[in-house]
């Protein structure tokens, strides 16, 4: 099948061909799905270079594990799970390298998020999509990797608490606390950004 035009071939047939060793079919799969896989890596790492490297690593792992793909979920979902796991490993390594973890301090400080006043007015109301994305991006940058990860897995990947706990390797209680903190922090950051603009 090498040298063939795959543009009209569906994912299932491409996966089947790639399993037989057809690199052309696999290249087509990479071409079709590389952007969402990269986007997920970027939303977790917040670093362009790391996101490129991790997404490429995910494709290599994908090639090696093609035999395990059962087709229960879509190919993109399957690949997204691979890149998420690689990003989690990467973030864990990064955390081990940092002696003082700000995130740990946050979590050990005893629920700072509980003390924050409620943001009564929706700070993102009426924003254009592009503008909203820019603001959310800015706020995500200021979250710790742990909080951002839980938020990304819940809001972007539609994962349930239990699934996040299993993926991240923590308890459901930790997932709930992290998600709560992340959302409250996001609300505060978005309100702050809005206030700065109004000044």
């Amino acid at each position: 099948m090498s040298g063939q035009n795959y543009s009209s071939t569906d994912d299932a047939a491409l996966v089947k061909a790639a399993r037989r060793g057809d690199m052309g079919a696999f290249e087509e799969l990479v071409f079709r799905h590389r952007d969402p896989i990269y986007a997920r890596a970027f939303s977790m790492t917040r670093n362009e270079e790391d996101a490129v490297d991790l997404s490429q690593e995910a494709w290599i792992k994908g090639w090696q594990r093609l035999g395990q793909f059962q087709g229960d979920s879509s190919f993109t979902t399957w690949m997204t799970r691979i890149v998420i796991n690689l990003c989690l490993d990467h973030l864990r390594k990064q955390k081990r390298q940092r002696a003082d973890s700000i995130e740990a301090m946050d979590e050990e400080s005893g629920g700072v998020e509980r003390q924050m006043p409620v943001v009564a007015v929706n700070p993102t109301a009426g924003l254009e999509r592009a503008e909203l994305r820019k603001k959310i991006d800015g706020a995500l940058d200021q979250l710790s990797a742990e909080h951002r990860t839980v938020l990304v897995l819940h809001e972007f990947e539609d994962m349930e608490y239990k699934e996040i706990a299993k993926t991240v390797g923590c308890s459901m209680g930790t997932v709930m606390s992290r998600l709560f903190y992340a959302r409250r922090k996001m609300a505060a950051l978005l309100a702050e950004l809005k206030n700065e603009e109004n000044r």
Binding site: M1, S2, R20, G21, D22, M23, G24, E27, V30, F31, R34, D35, Y38, A39, F42, S43, E48, V52, S55, Q56, W59, I60, W63, Q64, G111, R114, Q115, M116, P117, V118, V119, A120, N122, P123, T124, A125, R129, L132, R133, K135, I136, D137, L151, H154, E155, F156, E160, Y161, M176, S177, L179, F180, R183, R184, M186, A187, L190
Partner: protein, 180 residues
């Protein structure tokens, strides 16, 4: 601004679980009733809902900041380094596939033939009797030799007959010799 200071951590997390549809029906009804009579709970729920909505609406659609060719070439190179054989396109090389199956088949065939030849060429007298250690055995160790051995492991005895006298050249007469 509403304050949530007097809410317990558990209440706040339950409110969030309610928003995310993670509560059983009975508990969900209780939380709903609570948010209807408590403005602080309603305020917190609204904030959480707004943030969630903002996140969902801003799901990023990013593009890989590299050309298709460059991005793919790095993946391809690594795959080829890791699995040079698996990465070879099988459609191009029929000979490679044939080689993969033919070589082991030829090797197995050659071994089988060698085994058969060896089986039929073994001198019949090389080992005449094979028995366990407790059974006395009689064996002629070499074809056309003039010696026959009787061995009894339980008695610790070995007798060897020579078909010629010790001071003669080999003849038809056998004389037992005890070795122990």
């Amino acid at each position: 601004m509403n304050h949530v200071f007097n809410m317990t951590n558990e209440q706040q997390l339950k409110l969030q679980a309610f928003l995310d549809g993670e509560l059983p029906e009975r508990e969900a009804r209780e939380i709903l009733a609570w948010t209807q009579r408590d403005s602080a709970a309603a305020g917190l729920l609204a904030e959480l809902k707004n943030t969630r909505q903002a996140m969902v609406n801003s799901k990023p659609h990013l593009n890989v900041p590299e050309s298709r060719e460059f991005y793919w070439s790095k993946i391809q190179n690594k795959i080829q380094r890791l699995e040079p054989e698996a990465a070879a396109a099988p459609g191009v090389s029929i000979f490679a596939a044939l080689r993969r199956w033919l070589l082991p088949a030829v090797a197995v065939g050659a071994l089988a033939i060698a085994g058969l030849i060896a089986h039929f060429n073994v001198p019949k007298a090389a080992v005449e009797t094979v028995a366990d250690a407790d059974t006395p055995t009689v064996e002629t160790t070499l074809a056309n030799s003039d010696a026959t051995t009787y061995r009894d492991a339980s008695e610790g005895t070995t007798l060897v007959w020579f078909s010629y006298a010790a001071d003669e050249t080999p003849t038809q007469n056998k004389k037992p010799t005890a070795i122990n």
